[in-house]
Chain length 220, copies 2
């Protein structure tokens, strides 16, 4: 297992080379390292410093397995039914944004989620009945901090939501209070394959508008 | 203006020392640097790589001034009415999470927002009528990437929402399509005071639950 020395990764380098990692080995992550990742996550933004969040860490194989079963069902319903179409190597991926190789990675994760040594579940209080589309403005920044801190230690992960078809069962399994809501699921693990490459995106010129909507510019 | 050499900031160091910065000078940010910050932001997560986002950059003083006026009104309504109470140096800040010094910084920003050289407005398409509390799962991670990339270049900012009392007027001013929604407002600028210190948070042991809600542990 090659783990880069954390301080060797520069901030800008890390920001540009932390793709979602879905091929995760079952190598355990030490507890003291998990504490450090979580302590770094909560240095992310918190509107009004209210910190109405909680972070559930799941390492128990029986709990992970149950969630992984529900996750696979969610994946089957959302993507599995489109396997032939989405995994076709001749497809460009432009239509959904999901390339054939990212489809295969997503399929792998759906079939192996329970092998990831750790699930982190970010939770918000007073959120169960919320219809506020901006509710996650703080916690998703903190989740990104978690993924970037993990990357500094050679650990990969991805924020995913395909367990939500079984949201009530997940909430019950984890013992969530009635007012709380899970905001996602983050499997973490040492990558079994792949690399820290720059995520492919549409050119920045296409998504940046200057002064007013529709006013795009060429980047010199 | 002292600007650290970007690559000198390590990833973990940056993640632990990027507080919201609200005292921003009016020193301009070069366009090529803005492009780089935005290009780094969009390397953040994008669920299914759909990238249903856009990034509005506002530097026009007349547009900034109008938004700043609405912002100040929003701040007055939310916090200004509680000035005497919230700015009392004898108050602990435990009740709202907002310490007296962070109250003063928030007040400063409300009174000087228009002086920040750049506003970045993250936008989501197909979002205007959304009631999905998890809608921001990708874009807020990208906003955190923006703030961290800015920090690597010595530029500060904060994700704020106090303009939302005038949301319709802001949307019209920026020419937003009907289906789109602003997900926040990020003023950026070189800090006029303050420093890159670690944000103060509740101890991590209080917000982390192991295996099941309510099962807290002591960090050794």
């Amino acid at each position: 297992m090659s783990q880069p020395v954390p301080e060797q990764v520069g901030l800008l380098e890390g920001l540009r080379s932390t793709p979602s990692r879905r091929y995760l080995s079952d190598t355990p992550i030490p507890d003291d390292l998990l504490w450090e990742l979580l302590d770094t996550a909560i240095r992310g933004p918190s509107g009004g410093n209210r910190q109405r969040w909680a972070w559930l860490v799941v390492t128990d194989p029986s709990v992970k397995t149950r969630i992984a079963d529900w996750y696979r069902q969610g994946w089957d319903a959302a993507y599995g039914v489109r396997r032939e179409e989405l995994s076709d190597p001749g497809r460009s991926g432009v239509d959904t944004g999901l390339t054939p190789s990212s489809y295969r990675a997503t399929e792998y994760l759906a079939q192996h989620l329970g092998e990831a040594p750790v699930f982190v579940v970010p939770v918000l209080r007073d959120a169960a009945d919320s219809t506020d589309k901006r509710l996650g403005s703080s916690i998703y920044g903190a989740v990104q901090q978690l993924l970037l801190a993990a990357r500094a230690h050679g650990i990969g992960g991805v924020l995913t939501s395909l367990y939500l078809g079984a949201e009530d069962r997940v909430d019950a399994l984890l013992g969530l209070p009635d007012d709380a809501a899970t905001m996602g699921l983050v499997p973490l693990g040492y990558p079994a394959r792949g690399r820290w490459s720059q995520p492919r995106r549409r050119p920045v010129e296409e998504v940046v508008h200057w002064e007013r909507w529709g006013e795009t510019r060429t980047r010199d």
